[in-house]
């Protein structure tokens, strides 16, 4: 066994898997003989575990559509110019409230333009719909057959009392739901519905609204539209490729039931 003097440097090497295997035993013995170094090592191990766990959730987050689109070449990156300046925010994150408006869904134009929060909500809801409604086997994380769990889980995560509206009168059955990242650090619930012909609509709900507003929003190139409203501390959008009248009817029904559910 090689004998050499160890130092604090070796604590880092051992922690990072860079200590040669044949030195390990001697290192461990050195650590045992030096309580101060042993404590330091234990602390670094704990800090590393905390670092890893703080960022572990990022790996499970769905990849934002705008990032997939860059790789797949599906969207022109014309939003680059006004995309939030991440580096400025890094330098002066405290001063600047940058980044709330991720510049994705290029080419989307609003019909009834409200505040920017509205646009962001509608864009996120549409992006979620485009991404997940097209999926067959992976459209939802929790199926409608587990509706009670779905409601409890999403309510807890989003921070709102959430009921999945019954849209049978409008011809739609609940497929299930999933949890999504919303702007900033928020979370959103997405509930997916399907009619007899397989036409899908989604309901997108987040808890971070202090505004009161409503309107419709659509991409200039076609695709699904969103009917949204912001009220009573939550923001909600119904997205689908239905005639506007029908989408509005569905939205009204969903709105009524959500409000009733929240205040019940």
């Amino acid at each position: 066994m090689t004998r050499r003097d160890f130092s604090e440097r070796d604590i880092h090497m051992a922690l990072d898997g860079e200590l040669p295997g044949e030195e390990r035993m001697a290192y461990d013995a050195w650590l045992e003989a030096n309580p101060e170094m042993k404590a330091k090592s234990a602390r670094y191990i704990a800090d590393r575990a905390a670092m890893r766990s703080a960022f572990a959730d990022v790996m499970d987050e769905p990849v934002p559509a705008r990032l997939r689109q860059v790789v797949l070449g599906e969207a022109p990156s014309k939003a680059s110019a006004w995309r939030s300046r991440w580096w400025l925010s890094a330098a002066a994150a405290v001063m600047l409230a940058v980044g709330g408006l991720g510049g994705y869904v290029a080419g989307v134009d609003s019909i009834a333009r409200g505040g920017e929060g509205d646009d962001q909500l509608a864009e996120q809801a549409i992006a979620a719909h485009v991404t997940y409604a097209a999926e067959n086997r992976h459209a939802v994380e929790v199926p409608a057959s587990d509706k009670d769990h779905l409601q409890t889980w999403l309510s807890n995560r989003v921070g709102l009392k959430l009921v999945a509206p019954d849209l049978a009168a409008e011809g739609f059955e609940l497929v299930g739901g999933r949890l999504l990242p919303a702007g900033g650090q928020g979370k959103a619930a997405m509930l997916l519905y399907e009619d007899a012909k397989g036409e899908r609509i989604s309901l997108y709900v987040t808890a971070d609204s202090s505004e009161t507003s409503k309107g419709t929003y659509a991409a200039e190139t076609g695709g699904p539209e969103a009917v949204y409203w912001l009220d009573k501390g939550y923001a909600c959008a119904v997205v689908g490729s239905l005639p506007r009248e029908r989408l509005s009817d569905v939205a009204k029904s969903a709105y009524g039931q959500l409000v009733a559910g929240i205040s019940s």
């Binding site: 703080a54 960022f55 330098a91 002066a92 650090q185």
Partner: protein, 172 residues
């Protein structure tokens, strides 16, 4: 979809995690990832077959990050970062992060970008010293000293935070 694009897609979660640890804010971090992906696609031909897509993409992203940090520094904007940046940055409060996670994320933001990158690269992303030194474009010795100083600094910041927290509790 060709193999290269598929390989790039599968690295996105890791790139996002690394960006998040560098920048803290979710949207800003995703903007950095987007810049990285855009640049990667333009340079797809530079990517040698056989070269790990992970290393290639991390190198691109790290250059973007460091270049901008340097520009910002030259303009002196970094001076706007107060010492208590960590605390102020936690302002967009949310129920998602635990207190422990928030503290460590804030503390990471408060150490220098070079040390932050080196530490995260090895401690979270699991690169070896050789790989990380290669990605960051620094000698192994420099990498090691950044990691050691980064860890020491992080520990000090976390201790300060918990001290302040206990003071606050006592004051209540």
């Amino acid at each position: 979809m060709d193999d290269k694009k598929a390989a790039i897609l599968s690295e996105i979660p890791r790139l996002r995690r690394y960006a998040r640890s560098l920048l803290r804010d979710r949207d800003s971090a995703d903007d950095l990832v987007q810049d990285c992906l855009e640049r990667a696609l333009v340079r797809l031909d530079n990517w040698q077959t056989g070269e790990s897509p992970r290393r290639w993409l991390f190198t691109i992203m790290h250059h973007l990050f460091i270049d901008q940090m340097r520009k910002v520094n030259r303009r002196g904007e970094a001076a706007m970062l107060p010492l208590e940046a960590g605390e102020a940055q936690a302002a967009p409060a949310d129920q998602v992060e635990t207190i422990a996670s928030r503290e460590i994320m804030d503390a990471l933001q408060a150490i220098s970008p070079d040390r932050r990158a080196a530490l995260v690269m090895v401690a979270i992303e699991g690169f070896s010293y050789a790989e990380a030194a290669n990605i960051l474009g620094v000698p192994a010795g420099t990498l090691m000293s950044r990691i050691a100083r980064g860890r020491e600094e992080l520990r000090g910041l976390l201790d300060d935070t918990s001290r302040r927290r206990s003071i606050r509790i006592v004051e209540k």
